[in-house]
């Protein structure tokens, strides 16, 4: 039960209180770039979630069974980014070959993900927080769901913004950032919810 409780805490914290986009600032580029339409936001969010979970599952054994025994933990950044790039490439090829329908809807997002800091960020966070294998994967899942949630919410906000009359100086990026600020503020409302549910 203890494990389940810990995992639920990681899940809720990752999605609501320490959201990847609004609180930790991972993946701002796709957040600003691909959130113009709900479809795009949904596709990007799903692809990022899948890659984050996959990358966490792949980098955990590499770190603990290769880098640690060889005493070269300091190479983790170099090693992880290569693994992520290779992983993304593999997923792309496999999807293209075996699930062409899924590839045509999500495939375009995949090359954008290699340089998304959310993916490298979550693998390094897993190491820093000394998570085990299951915890790492759940942490990545939580981060991914949080990313997806905020992307979809914010795409709605942006569709509204695009129909508004905005002061000239704020057009484009500034108004998007200010809207993001208000969205981020609304997520502050969730602070304490995890302690509230699981009794701290």
């Amino acid at each position: 039960m203890e494990l389940v409780r810990d995992l639920m805490i990681i899940l809720f914290t990752g999605i609501l209180t320490e959201n990847f986009i609004l609180n930790k600032f991972y993946g701002i580029c796709p957040f600003l770039g691909v959130s113009k339409t709900t479809d795009g936001a949904l596709g990007m969010g799903l692809a990022v979630t899948a890659v984050m979970v996959g990358a966490s599952a792949v980098t955990y054994p590499i770190y603990h069974f290769v880098l640690v025994p060889l005493n070269i933990e300091y190479l983790n950044t170099v090693c992880f980014i290569l693994v992520i790039a290779a992983f993304v490439q593999t997923v792309e090829m496999v999807l293209k070959k075996y699930v062409p329908a899924l590839y045509s809807s999500l495939g375009v997002y995949l090359p954008l993900i290699t340089t998304n800091c959310a993916v490298l960020g979550v693998t390094i966070l897993n190491i820093d927080n000394e998570y085990g294998f299951v915890e790492s994967v759940v942490n990545a899942l939580a981060g991914g769901i949080g990313f997806l949630l905020v992307m979809v919410i914010f795409s709605g906000v942006r569709e509204r913004i695009s129909r508004c009359d905005i002061p000239k100086a704020l057009e484009g990026t500034p108004v998007t950032l200010i809207a993001a600020s208000i969205t981020s503020l609304s997520f502050v409302g969730f602070s304490g919810i995890v302690d509230g549910i699981f009794g701290g």
Binding site: N23, C29, G33, Y74, T77, I81, Y109, P174, L177, S184
Partner: protein, 220 residues
């Protein structure tokens, strides 16, 4: 004189952060204090200059098809060097920057400059370009950091500036304040330079090709 131009264009006119809108994640994350902004900016500048130098030296050796992975490995190598150095000599700064120190690897400014400039130009212009872009990035981090620190805690670089009776607005050191301040700084810069701020564009982004594909798919 043209060398001078490679250096100065990154400072304001093509500021990677405020004009080209690259590298937003560290800009928002580390700018709760001007000092952290300075540290992050200089670390990024170092990596940018070194990676531009090495990539422009190796541009004939690296095969075109695998250039992105090659660039990333070169960049990641320098990032590892910087993070080991900061860990041993400036542990407080390394602590404050946290994961974002390692995430310099995926900062799109660095990969963007490698792709757009270093792999097409000679060594000296590439180094100057890296230096200018890096300092431009540092400047914008310091500006955003100073505004947030002043409004959020009443200090700049740890020195008390605001009189005691002004209540600091904690909002500004929260994530929400980061988005808000950056939005305002970009808007003000747009007004000063009388240029309409660009939309988030992938012009200088290594993933530009995929982005264009995506846009044409969305409009179809």
């Amino acid at each position: 004189m043209s060398y001078m131009k490679e250096f100065t264009k990154g400072l304001l006119k093509e500021n990677p952060n405020l004009v080209m809108l690259l590298g937003m994640c560290p800009t928002l994350a580390v700018t709760t204090m001007a000092q952290n902004g300075l540290g992050m900016g200089l670390a990024t500048t170092f990596v940018l200059v070194c990676s531009n130098l090495v990539i422009s030296l190796l541009k004939k050796v690296i095969p075109d098809t695998v250039r992105l992975p090659c660039f990333i490995v070169i960049i990641a190598g320098f990032v590892t060097f910087v993070s080991i150095m900061l860990d041993s000599f400036l542990p407080d700064l390394a602590e404050a920057l946290g994961v974002f120190l390692s995430l310099i690897t995926v900062n799109c400014i660095i990969l963007g400059r490698a792709e757009m400039f270093a792999c097409r130009n000679k060594v000296l212009p590439s180094v100057l370009d890296g230096l200018g872009m890096g300092l431009g990035f540092t400047m914008s981090l310091i500006v955003v950091g100073a505004i947030r620190e002043l409004l959020g805690t009443g200090k700049i670089f740890g020195l008390q500036i605001m009189p005691d009776f002004v209540q600091p607005m904690t909002l500004f050191i929260l994530p929400a304040g980061g988005f808000f301040t950056l939005g305002c700084v970009i808007a003000v810069l747009g007004v000063i330079t009388k240029k309409k701020p660009r939309k988030v564009s992938c012009d200088n982004c290594p993933s530009r090709e995929a982005c264009t594909k995506l846009e044409s798919k969305e409009s179809a």
